[in-house]
């Protein structure tokens, strides 16, 4: 029935909701706790996987990167693939929050909060992987500029130093943005909570917020300005990460398309992850009135749009390999098509190019099982994209005598699966203790709907 309605007829918020009902629904999710036993079992599974991640990280720290599937020439293995994949996922949250806020897209309201949480956790996990890959993680602090006794400073012309500043800034600004959005909702929870402990904890975190007109005046100005700052920041983060690759001379890395290519890939995988999370959350927590099919329709269109930037980038990579006339560059692309890692390449193309086209059909965009399947496939394909970039470029570079291939070990798999578990574990804690939909912005939405004739 809903699928028959044109896009603009499905409301962003189902009718019948009032200020009090949205407030009560969202705060009850936090204050009443899990109502299904299955959720607890799921949480235990996530916890176990998070522990697996911790175990694998400690093992690599203690015994060294020899545990991982890396060698020379393939010095960048799965950990770097994971960094890029996770930080890409961490892009959609800020994009949805900041860019859609500036563009006055009110439908963002139902999804921005958990997308922001997703961003912070994904970016945080991404920031862990360079340590795993580093080999000597205790020397990490060399990246930090401070007047040390050795008289050393970071090399400011190095893309790796830029990368450190970009990711650190991105995580901090995302946390600020997220926390500012949370403050009025924490005040709501403080006022709804019954137990004195919760009243105190939420009251403390709400910083004394009382919704005064003067508070809101400063609050709204700053929220917009944070969005203005975050928008170029999102673009800069993945661009700077791509420079880690593009600033080298390795054929397949050394390419001017990389900064926009990485940003487009980040947006695609980020939107896919938002859909991947939104589908189960909507069902599990009874959010059908708040996350409607219109949201999924819009998200799917964003996936399609960012997907075409990615497809364009694939095409440009091939074009420049041919047009540059560079023998090594050409060989990298041929090797991707027919070399030992060709299955990964073709699987990536199938997901990101072929499966993506399903989103042209409204029936797919409005069907949660189909959309969820497409999103998961593209998530996997986006991981493979980074795998293809990272591994196939180095494994056969200039001199055939240097050629070698690397295959992942169980530790690589444990780190990847463990990081997924850690991510789900953190998301579960977030959903348990903080409102996963912005309550005050939902009230604003109710007000806007009332104001309409």
């Amino acid at each position: 029935m809903a699928a028959e309605r044109p896009a603009d007829r499905i409301p962003v918020l189902e009718p019948g909701q009032t200020y009090a009902s949205v407030t009560d629904h969202m705060s009850a999710l936090v204050l009443r706790g899990p109502t299904r036993r299955g959720l607890v079992a799921l949480f235990l599974l996530f916890t176990a996987l998070a522990i697996l991640f911790g175990y694998a990280v400690i093992a690599v720290f203690a015994r060294g990167v020899g545990l991982l599937g890396v060698n020379i020439p393939v010095a960048w293995g799965w950990p770097i693939v994971n960094v890029v994949w996770w930080i890409g996922i961490g892009h959609a949250g800020t994009l949805i929050s900041a860019v859609l806020l500036l563009l006055r897209q009110r439908w963002r309201t139902s999804i921005n909060r958990f997308a922001e949480a997703m961003t912070i956790f994904a970016a945080g996990i991404a920031a862990l992987f360079p340590f795993v890959h580093l080999g000597r993680p205790w020397l990490f602090y060399y990246l930090v500029p401070y007047p040390d006794t050795m008289g050393l400073w970071p090399q400011w012309r190095s893309a790796l130093v830029w990368d450190f500043f970009a990711i650190a800034t991105y995580i901090l600004v995302s946390i600020l943005f997220w926390y500012q959005g949370l403050v009025p909702d924490l005040a709501t929870l403080r006022d709804r909570a019954v137990s004195p402990l919760r009243q105190r904890v939420y009251g403390f975190l709400a910083l004394g917020w009382r919704g005064s007109a003067r508070h809101w005046e400063h609050y709204e100005t700053n929220y917009l300005l944070l969005a203005v700052l975050a928008t170029p920041l999102v673009v800069s983060v993945h661009s700077v990460i791509s420079l880690d690759f593009a600033a080298t001379i390795v054929p397949g890395y050394h390419s001017t398309i990389f900064p926009p290519y990485f940003v487009a890939g980040a947006l695609l995988s980020g939107f896919c992850m938002v859909v991947t999370l939104a589908v189960p959350l909507r069902g599990l927590f009874g959010l059908e009135d708040f996350i409607t099919l219109r949201h999924f329709d819009r998200m799917a269109k964003l996936m399609l749009a960012s997907g075409f930037f990615v497809i364009y980038s694939y095409a440009v990579e091939f074009f420049f390999a041919w047009y540059s006339g560079d023998e090594f560059h050409r060989y990298v692309q041929i090797n991707r098509l027919f070399g030992p890692y060709a299955p990964a390449f073709w699987a990536m193309l199938t997901g990101n190019v072929l499966v993506l086209q399903a989103l042209w059909w409204r029936r797919v965009r409005r069907s949660l099982p189909l959309l969820f399947t497409v999103a998961v496939i593209i998530n996997v394909a986006m991981w493979l994209e980074r795998y293809v970039i990272v591994i196939t470029s180095t494994h056969r570079d200039f001199l055939p005598s240097m050629w070698d291939s690397a295959s992942a070990t169980g530790w690589d798999a444990a780190l990847l699966i463990g990081s997924l578990g850690l991510f789900c574990f953190l998301m579960a804690l977030f959903i348990r203790f903080l409102p996963l939909i912005s309550i005050y912005e939902m009230r604003e939405l109710v007000r806007e709907r009332e104001a309409e004739p």
Binding site: W156, W216, E220, T221, L225, A230, S236, R447
Partner: protein, 182 residues
């Protein structure tokens, strides 16, 4: 003159409204009557309320601008100082003062400085964090974060007089009118 509620000084008189439109309308009328120490407590930002209360302010903008300029300037200075003065490394005769390469970190730190200054500036301008405030003593104040709209005339207002203020508030047809002790 100070007023008292029981053994405590009076902070102000509040009125509770059912809708945002009534609140904005009430705020305008009270401003029109000459009250200046007015505040409103709402469950979400209400358009037009700051104008009605006369508390429009653009100060946060200047915090963000100052923070961004300071962050960027410090980052650039740090890079220039460390790469040119304190630890010059000659890499194939390339210029030590490599300003294009310095711009990435400068940009990131400008964004960080602006965001931090904006967030903490917003809190400072709002007088937060704050452990307590007299309006929290209102038994119904919890509804300001659920769906009710409060208007408060504070006793520091020059024209404050309990009887007249109560009468003026009641004339606006609120749900309740209550005195708040300090």
């Amino acid at each position: 003159m100070t007023y008292r509620v029981g053994d405590r000084e009076l902070f102000g008189v509040t009125a509770m409204f059912d809708s945002a439109d009534e609140l904005v309308c009430a705020a305008r009328r009270l401003r029109g009557k000459g009250y200046r120490r007015l505040d409103a407590y709402t469950p979400f930002p209400v358009e037009g309320l700051s104008e009605a209360l006369g508390c429009r302010s653009g100060k946060v903008r200047w915090c963000v601008l100052a923070g961004a300029l300071l962050g960027g300037a410090l980052a650039y200075f740090l890079q220039w100082y460390s790469a040119v003065v304190d630890y010059p490394v000659n890499v194939g005769g390339r210029p030590l003062h490599a300003w294009p390469a310095f711009l990435v970190v400068t940009f990131e730190m400008a964004v960080l400085g602006g965001a931090l200054a904006g967030f903490f500036g917003m809190l400072a301008l709002s007088g937060l964090p704050r452990l307590h405030h007299p309006v929290f003593d209102l038994p119904e104040f919890g509804r300001a974060t659920r769906g009710r709209f409060f208007l408060c005339i504070e006793s520091s207002d020059e024209r404050f007089d309990v009887e007249r203020v109560t009468k003026d508030l009641e004339a606006l047809a609120p749900l309740t009118v209550q005195e708040v002790p300090r």
